[in-house]
């Protein structure tokens, strides 16, 4: 079966996730956290879609909702011809092999009582990916691919450093031959020197195994390095989505512009003289997000419709999506 290399692998439509919470000392007030509201985008086969935004804006919720680790409140997630949101957990299990995740914190995502080799082998034996005799061989190949010396297969996670554990997590995710991996801030818990290693490793593996990534991060430099397209999130909604270079050179959304201008330039002279679009105020609570455009209370371009009407998510240019009233 031949596949169109640029075909859509994951289609997200109106994805919404609301968490009911109880507030107050005795949980007497009911409230809703609007973590994710009406988010739609496509992920193409073989690409890396970067997803950036501030802490708490719902980036991780997007990743977990796509994988149905959080059941979305509304919306659809299509993986090829299957709507994942309609499947029961038991029917999802075999599909989970194809849709994997690498978490942010490599310290807590490995079972402390399982050796590294056993952790990497477990998905293969559970999903019967190969004959028993081949498992050891495949574990060794995966460890080699992820830069783990094979003799460490019988060691336990607590004996490794953060970067090494992240390699173990990546090897474990690869063990069931996934097509799509959600990388949920895979490098932000690591030292800067290790971040580069892991980013490079992810890039190499993508080429080798034809992987598609949703790369979630808050570090723009990392996202710029690894992504082919980048989506910007603000308070549970997508603000802008564009191919990497287009986004960095011609950001349209005022929030994207502010975000990009907040990145320091590694040149003191330029840094002192450059114009910064600083935002006023704080991010509102996702329990009571502003009406209309969620960004309008802080937006320098805000005008009349912004406080009432939610801006449409529209394609302004080829592959350049934006949700803003002010941008024509």
């Amino acid at each position: 079966m031949k596949r169109d290399p640029n075909a859509t692998l994951i289609k997200v439509r109106s994805l919404t996730k609301h968490f009911p919470v109880r507030l107050g000392a005795y949980g007497q007030h009911k409230a809703t956290v609007y973590a994710l509201d009406d988010v739609s985008f496509n992920i193409f086969r073989g690409e890396t879609l970067g997803l950036v935004g501030e802490s708490g804006c719902g980036k991780t919720t997007v990743g977990l909702s796509i994988l149905q680790l959080h059941r979305p409140s509304r919306g659809e997630v299509w993986y090829e011809e299957i709507d994942l949101t309609k499947l029961k957990e038991a029917d999802l299990r075999p599909l989970r092999q194809k849709l994997q995740i690498v978490f942010q914190d490599p310290y807590s995502t490995l079972n402390p009582r399982m050796t590294v080799g056993a952790a990497i082998a477990e998905p293969m034996s559970v999903h019967r990916r190969c004959e028993k005799q081949q498992i050891q061989e495949r574990v060794e190949r995966l460890m080699d691919d992820t830069g783990l010396p094979m003799r460490y297969g019988n060691r336990y996670p607590h004996e490794f450093s953060g970067g090494q554990r992240q390699r173990i997590c990546i090897a474990r995710a690869l063990a069931c031959d996934p097509e799509f991996i959600v990388c949920d801030e895979p490098v932000s818990a690591l030292d800067v020197s290790i971040q580069a290693q892991i980013s490079n490793l992810l890039k190499d593996l993508q080429e080798k195994y034809n992987l598609t990534y949703l790369f979630i991060a808050h570090d723009l430099a990392v996202v710029k390095y690894i992504s082919s397209r980048i989506a910007v999130m603000y308070l549970g909604k997508l603000a802008e989505l564009a191919p990497r270079d287009m986004l960095f050179e011609h950001p349209l959304h005022p929030y994207t512009q502010a975000l990009l201008s907040a990145v320091p330039v590694p040149n003191p002279k330029e840094e002192r003289s450059r114009q910064q679009a600083l935002l006023e105020g704080d991010v509102p609570s996702s329990i009571s997000p502003p009406k209309g455009c969620r960004f309008h209370p802080r937006c320098p371009l805000a005008f009349e419709p912004c406080s009432d009407a939610v801006p449409d998510w529209r394609e302004v240019d080829n592959n350049h999506w934006i949700a803003c009233h002010a941008v024509k």
Partner: protein, 324 residues
């Protein structure tokens, strides 16, 4: 491919090379070995188990054989711990008492562990109504006073069951129905097992409630593992540490309870030797024959302390950071 394997070698932790791989259990065992009191407790407990298992082979005399010409003797070469008022060898009876105590302690703890861990695991993992129902049963069971229950069973159930067994023996002549002593035994300590499980259930429920929010459980779900595998391979092994500690304390507690019940005459009944009924007998004559009281009491004391040391050692070893 990039140079990532080389890059890895640059960040190898010092000293990992040439070290034996250490599992968390192995680490815990090493910590336990370093704790002198815990090792002392462990040795005493092992000796107790050996004595209990080997009982019939190492007792110098039969625990029932009476020698009325040798009554109330103090320690001698023939009777190391002397003899009691019926001329029975006290050492043999203490050894058989260890057997009684061990049988009771292990069966009570095993049954309560089985009930407690299963119910607690179900409650913690399913949550919702199942959880509320099980927690309700736990609370209900915990409200029953152990001693009162034993007394009530002793006065209400023992007699009818004994009569029933006598009837059955007359009808069937099956020798099994002559063993009324063992039925007493099973009744009281069976009841004990049925109300000693709540601490285990509460503990394992709490462990599971916290562990199921761990990221490695989310990772296991993301890998498409079944609920059963997640519970048995990923959650339970990580939550068993405190249960082991509690069970070791529970063994000691069950031994003390056995002695206490037997002392009060509602547990093991003579002629089966138990430290409890030996202490009770010894108490009546301790002014004249103190060894009859001292022998079982000292042994019971040592065993209690040993279990306590072992439990503390296990607690420190299995949880170096402390969960209390």
């Amino acid at each position: 491919m990039s140079s990532s394997p080389q890059a890895f070698n640059e960040v190898l932790p010092e000293g990992l090379e040439g070290h034996e791989p250490t599992s968390l259990w192995r680490d815990a065992f090493d910590r336990l070995k370093a704790n002198k009191l815990a090792v002392f407790g462990f040795i005493i407990v092992v000796v107790l188990l050996l004595v209990a298992i080997l009982g019939p082979f190492i007792t110098p005399y039969d625990f029932l054989s009476q020698d009325l010409s040798q009554r109330n003797q103090s320690s001698s070469a023939a009777h190391l711990l002397g003899t009691d008022d019926l001329g029975r060898d006290v050492l043999s009876r203490v050894i058989y008492g260890a057997r009684t105590a061990t049988i009771v302690a292990f069966s009570v703890t095993a049954v309560s562990l089985l009930i407690g861990v299963s119910l607690g695991a179900i409650a913690g993992y399913s949550g919702g109504r199942v959880d509320s129902a099980i927690v309700w049963i736990i609370d209900l069971t915990m409200s029953i006073p152990i001693l009162l229950l034993a007394v009530v069973i002793n006065v209400s159930l023992k007699t009818p069951v004994t009569y029933w067994m006598d009837d059955m023996y007359l009808k069937t002549h099956n020798p099994i129905y002559r063993e009324t002593i063992w039925v007493d035994f099973a009744l009281v300590f069976g009841a004990l097992a049925l109300i000693m499980w709540p601490p285990y259930a509460r503990l394992i429920r709490g462990q599971i409630l916290s562990i199921r929010n761990e990221n490695y459980v989310l990772a296991a779900r993301a890998l498409g593992f079944s609920n059963r595998r997640i519970l048995f391979r990923h959650i339970l092994p990580n939550g068993l540490g405190p249960v082991i500690v509690l069970a070791s304390a529970g063994l000691g507690q069950a031994m003390i309870l056995e002695s206490a019940f037997s002392f009060l005459g509602i547990g093991v009944r003579p002629p089966i030797p138990s430290w409890g009924n030996m202490i009770s007998d010894g108490l009546r004559v301790w002014r004249n024959y103190p060894h009859l009281l001292a022998a079982p009491a000292v042994v019971l004391g040592i065993i209690t302390v040993a279990f306590s040391f072992l439990g503390d050692g296990l607690n420190d070893a299995l949880n170096p950071k402390g969960w209390r």
